[in-house]
């Protein structure tokens, strides 16, 4: 096996372990959510203002689109990489504006169980998207050989797909169920 293929496998194993760890983290948060919810008299708790589901769903589409852009970047090069980076950045900005809206509408952290849960899950998720953003921007800046670049791009894509799936799960668990 040549060096590049070996490194690719190393990266794949490392990424699998890392994603497993991240998945446990979000599983623990969802567990906390399940306990809080099971103890509430009704869900959402009485007196909670309606949740802006549409905005949360639209933001999720941005993340999925970022994943597709990164896939295109494998073939089409850095322009699509920048596109993926941009989409993920817009996702973070839209999340920030969503939090602003929620705080103004008495659904922010500290206002009630639903506000707490959504804020904790989405803030934590946003931090992980930020991590992916940093990884992609490093990829965009560094001048590295094509093969190495492709290997790192693959790993970044796996990670961004993971955060998109996590967002989907959070959305379904908090906004739909």
């Amino acid at each position: 096996m040549n060096g590049e293929a070996a490194r690719h496998l190393n990266g794949a194993v490392g990424m699998a372990v890392f994603i497993g760890a991240c998945a446990m983290l979000f599983a623990a948060l969802l567990f906390a959510y399940a306990v809080v919810r099971s103890q509430a008299p009704a869900w959402p708790p009485p007196g909670t203002p309606p949740f802006p589901r549409g905005a949360a769903a639209a933001n999720g589409l941005l993340l999925i689109a970022a994943g597709f852009a990164l896939r295109r970047a494998r073939i089409r090069g850095p322009a699509w990489l920048a596109m993926g980076l941009g989409l993920a950045a817009v996702f973070l900005l839209m999340q920030a504006s969503l939090w602003g809206r929620l705080v103004a509408g008495h659904l922010g952290p500290g206002t009630g169980a639903l506000g707490d849960v959504f804020f904790a899950l989405s803030a934590f998720h946003a931090l992980h998207v930020l991590g992916g953003l940093v990884a992609i921007s490093v990829l965009l800046r560094r001048r590295v050989p094509g093969e190495t670049r492709l290997r790192r791009l693959r790993l970044a894509t796996i990670y961004m797909d993971f955060v998109a799936v996590v967002w989907l799960i959070i959305y379904v668990a908090v906004c739909l169920v």
Partner: protein, 558 residues
């Protein structure tokens, strides 16, 4: 700069080792202060008292005492034992023992150390903020640890420090797992791995799975404290809200695997070293490996035994009790294998061997007392007493210290190229071992007599007054324990400067790190070795023809 921000696993391992040893000293001094207060409640601490507690004239105040036991536990578990065993010896040993040139991700490895350094800086800074360091116990149970119970910034910084510690640990776990899966030398099959490597590998799996759970708990606690969410504060009916017990679930879901995270490397190291110094193959190597794997699996489903007194459903409690008791099956196998290894061996009672045998003893008692606590009925009485303190110190303090010292004496020649003094090593072992057992077995006794943990002044209660002489004697033994560590400190630093230069293979064993010069060159192996046999080929008949009693893992017989 290249030596400080190094990506070489050997340098990073040493950095972790020094960091951990420094915090071991800090946590140890805290233990001495706690013992002073328990033996002489309310009297000023001699020598250092006025320096440490100037406001109270050298007396440890109740708040300072609470901070002391909180930070003692936190430092020892997260910032002493974790860096020494997993960060230090894990980093140093794993690539060398499997025949690799470095970790799979050297830069991630470096980042892991510096995140740990940031965590320690945060924790250290928390001593100097208004209202002082965290005071909610090392478990930081809500609501004590929420803004209601702990309004100061110290507890917030504590959660951040533990979170960063967790990030560092997970980075390490990703690295160790990938390294062992991918970078084993040709011929190094899974069942030819030294048991030390098995220990670190399995520990890393538990780390990757369960450290994120406490990270989530820390993050939610942080949100509760900073953003006013109420995950761990019981809510009103209208608002709905959280549950302090939820914190305990999240904490122990991590906390129980954590016990095994810490002990697995120790088990692995001891299983190897007992074989090396008994000059015969490890008894039941495969059984040991499967027992370790069995413990790893069971450790995920027993955490509820920490919560028998929270009013959990009896059915759930009984399941946890049964599962906990089943853990004694693989651990007994492990123990029997150690005895089997020692049986009729040609024992070489070197310092590392003494510490290993010491571990077998303290782990035996510590493990057996665990069975009392696993029993729901006994636990109703023993919960939160010194019996628990004695039990977990026999394992988490005594056994882990023994393993850390054994590993230090054993790998010091390989790490620094010099031998440690055997005479001072034995002078270190005997008072340590004897005092340690007096302290922790004494704690078992006063716990059995009903003394609760975390009391500022137990003698203030009539029913505990008669235990004061016990506490005085436990404290005296603790001071002996503390002072005898100075022998180790002296031995360590003196040997570092003027120890006898170490040969490549001072202990005459066959694992791969001893085929290299001491200390090994930057990329370890000039040529990646080809492994042809297991790690414990001692007393081998083929070796006798060559005038020795062991065969190297990569030694080709012609």
């Amino acid at each position: 700069m290249r030596r400080i921000f190094s990506t070489d696993h050997k340098v990073i391992g040493k950095q972790f080792l020094f960091l951990g040893l420094a915090f071991l000293a800090v946590g140890g001094v805290m233990a001495m202060l706690i013992r002073w207060q328990l033996a002489r409640p309310g009297q000023p601490v001699p020598i250092v008292g006025r320096l440490l507690f100037p406001g109270a004239g050298g007396v440890i105040s109740p708040a300072a005492y609470t901070s002391l036991f909180t930070m003692h536990g936190t430092i020892m578990i997260f910032f002493a034992v974790t860096p020494i065993l997993i960060g230090g010896f894990g980093n140093f040993c794993v690539p060398l023992l499997i025949g690799a040139r470095d970790m799979a991700f050297p830069r991630l490895n470096m980042a892991s150390f510096w995140v740990m350094a940031a965590a320690t800086a945060t924790l250290t800074a928390s001593f100097f903020v208004p209202l002082g360091a965290a005071q909610a116990g090392w478990t930081a149970y809500a609501t004590l640890s929420t803004a209601i119970g702990a309004p100061g910034p110290g507890q917030t910084m504590w959660t951040v420090a533990i979170y960063l510690n967790g990030v560092s640990t997970v980075m390490g776990a990703v690295n160790y797992i990938t390294t062992v899966v991918r970078l084993r030398a040709p011929g190094m099959s899974w069942f030819r791995l030294p048991l030390t490597v098995w220990g670190f590998f399995l520990t890393s799996i538990l780390n990757a799975l369960f450290v994120p759970v406490i990270a989530a708990a820390m993050m939610l606690l942080f949100f509760d404290r900073v953003f006013g969410t109420q995950f761990f504060i019981a809510g009103t009916t209208m608002r709905a809200g959280g549950d302090p017990i939820l914190y305990q679930h999240m904490f122990w879901l991590f906390g129980h695997p954590e016990v095994y995270i810490l002990i697995l490397p120790a088990w692995g190291i001891v299983s190897d070293l007992l074989s090396f110094f008994a000059r015969k193959p490890a008894f039941g190597y495969r059984v040991t490996v499967w027992a370790l794997i069995g413990v790893v699996i069971l450790s995920c489903v027993v955490y509820g035994h920490h919560m028998f007194t929270t009013g959990m459903s009896p059915l759930l409690g009984e399941s946890f009790m049964l599962l906990t008791m089943i853990i004694s099956v693989p651990t007994s196998l492990l123990f029997l294998n150690w005895l089997g290894t020692l049986w009729r061996g040609a024992l070489r009672m070197t310092t590392p061997m003494l510490f290993c045998v010491g571990l077998v003893f303290t782990f035996g008692i510590g493990g057996l007392t665990g069975l009392y606590l696993a029993d729901i009925v006994a636990d109703q009485y023993l919960h939160d007493t010194y019996f628990v303190v004695g039990h977990f110190h026999l394992i988490m303090a005594a056994a882990l210290l023994m393993a850390s010292f054994a590993a230090t004496y054993f790998w010091f020649p390989k790490m620094f190229g010099r031998m440690m003094s055997e005479r001072l090593g034995k002078l270190h072992f005997w008072p340590t071992f004897l005092a340690l057992n007096v302290v922790f077995i004494g704690q078992l006794a006063i716990g059995w007599a009903g003394m609760q943990r975390r009391l500022y002044d137990p003698s203030a209660y009539d029913f505990l007054k008669h235990l004061l002489p016990w506490n005085v004697w436990i404290s005296r033994a603790a001071y002996v324990l503390g002072l005898s560590q100075l022998v180790f400190v002296w031995n360590f630093f003196a040997s570092l400067r003027r120890g006898k230069p170490a040969p490549a293979n001072p202990w005459e064993v066959g694992t791969l790190e001893w085929t290299l010069p001491s200390p090994p060159p930057h990329h370890n192996f000039e040529e990646i070795p080809t492994v042809v046999r297991g790690p414990h080929e001692l007393g081998h008949p083929d070796a006798r023809a060559r005038g020795k009693d062991w065969l190297g893992q990569d030694e080709v017989l012609s």
